[in-house]
Amino acid sequence: MRRSSIGSIVLATALAAAGAHAFDDAKYPDLKGQWTRISPPGQPAFDPSKPRGRGQEAPLTHEYQAVFEANLADLAAGGEGLWPGFTCRPPGMPPLMTAYQPMEIVVTPGTTYILIDHIHDTHRRIFTDGRDWPTEVEPAYAGYSIGQWIDTDQDGRYDVLEVETRHMKGPRAYDASGLPLHHDNRTVVKERIYLDRSNPDILHDDITVIDNALTRPWTVTKNYRRDPNPRPVWPEYICAENNAHVRIGNEAYFTSADGYLMPAKKDQPPPDLRYFDQAGK
């Protein structure tokens, strides 16, 4: 009995020491490594299970269906439509989670970081320190994310990260087809991020978008596969490097391989050069 008590004290002391000083990795799912989106080849769609563009069957309001159609017409004419990425503005939430480039997830007790080196070297912070929504938040493309780890099967280990993201700014679109989010930027994104039960090298993100351009919440599931390489290559993506898109005022142009300004659309007028002393060559 006495020996048992001593043993208990020793064990309790050991656990207390671990609790006080160590981050217990074992309580969290192992999300280490490099995650790559699972989606059909080509330009990815927001809902990877459906074709891009109209095929997404997004529950847009009539007003935003018309906005989307005008965007498609602009794209067909050579314009940039509503996708802000052409001029190196980040996709923001929720398209950030399309993971246009490989994704790393760094779990710490107070914050989970989503690192994706795409247009912006995104380091999305999901605060898991129990904070409430701050009274004032400066809007950001990535928004402000608060998360909570959940032990859904009560086995003593967390298995789902539930996240809510608010305070986005725009312009944002779901994907390069220009499928729009509402201009009011009052989007709320709810996510459930979890490993596949039968294959821990597959990660799921159930994403529900609540947005005033939609007639109802829109839920899609994104899937990612873990690279088995323990030391994966993390490519650097610098959008401004060799970007041939140029925006002057409200007009989009290209630069040619030989360094001249080019129209992006048929019969597009050249830019206004009123501030130059000389006429164009």
Binding site: P90, E138, A240, E241, L273
Partner: protein, 274 residues
């Protein structure tokens, strides 16, 4: 006998504790506490350019750059079009910096143009093909210098940068061959745990010898600091067409950046400009 048994129980428990800690837990107490938001102290300048030990060739390049900047051009400062500052300029910490320490990687997160870094501390070496990047490839090692059982210095070496890069917006240049090697010692001040130092030694063929400076950062005291998003591509008024840099006016028209600058060549347009 009971005493030996008790000792054995403690020894077993201690061994189990260490084994559990090693296998399952990241023992944060072995590492310095670098949490929080770090702000650079002083202006985002690398150093007084007059102290730079540039070679004659690069002294001339720097002087030409200053003359270009004086007439409205950008000289050899490449970041105005949202190119990454790269290493070592990243460590100017133009915006607040977060350092996330994990057993195998230390992350430097800076929300500026494109300024984040991974420092690998998993014991890897330089073997294999490494694609050059602006931030370079960084391998680090935690050192327990005073032998107290806790790490106190992160020693880092960074290679495989690409360019163009300069030390800061003065255009103070690094060599075009991009064979720069950057060595760092990152550590908390002994007298003030809210002050962080980064001793940075640059070895570069534009220099006559290694150049060491120390960057210093102060930790903000807000436990939930604000991390502002900085998006260079948003509202950037610089437009580059060919080799010429222009500005955008507030109403969205193209403007010259220097006196007498010709307008862009519009040979691919059918209509004449207004």
């Amino acid at each position: 006998m009971p005493a030996r048994s008790l000792s054995a129980t403690f020894a077993l428990a201690a061994a189990l504790t260490l084994a559990v800690a090693d296998a399952r837990a990241f023992d944060e107490t072995k590492f310095p506490d670098l949490k929080g938001q770090w702000h650079r102290i002083g202006a985002p300048r690398w150093a007084n350019p007059k102290t730079a030990p540039l070679t004659e060739e690069y002294r001339a390049i720097f002087a030409a750059n200053l003359a270009e900047q004086a007439e409205g051009r950008q000289g050899t400062d490449p970041t105005y079009t949202c190119l990454s500052p790269g290493m070592p300029r990243i460590m100017n910490a133009y915006d607040p910096m977060e350092i996330v320490v994990t057993p195998h990687t230390t992350y430097i997160l800076i929300e500026h143009i494109h300024d984040s870094r991974r420092i690998f501390t998993d014991g890897r070496d330089w073997s294999g093909d490494i694609e050059p990047t602006f931030a370079g490839y960084s391998i680090g090692q935690w050192i327990d210098e005073d032998g107290d059982g806790r790490y106190d210095v992160l020693v880092v070496e960074t290679r495989h940068m690409k360019g163009p890069r300069s030390y800061d917006s003065t255009g103070l240049p690094l060599h075009r061959d991009n064979r720069t090697v950057v060595k760092e010692r990152i550590f908390l001040a002994k007298a003030d745990r809210n002050t962080l130092h980064d001793e940075i030694t640059v070895i570069d063929n534009a220099l006559t010898g290694p150049w060491t400076i120390t960057k210093t950062y102060r930790r903000g005291q807000d436990p939930q600091p604000i991390w502002r998003e900085a998006v260079c591509g948003e509202d950037n008024q610089h437009v580059v067409i060919g080799n010429e840099n222009y500005f955008l006016s507030a109403e969205g028209h193209l403007m010259p950046t220097r006196k007498g600058q010709p307008p862009p060549d519009l040979r691919y347009f059918k209509q004449s400009p207004k």
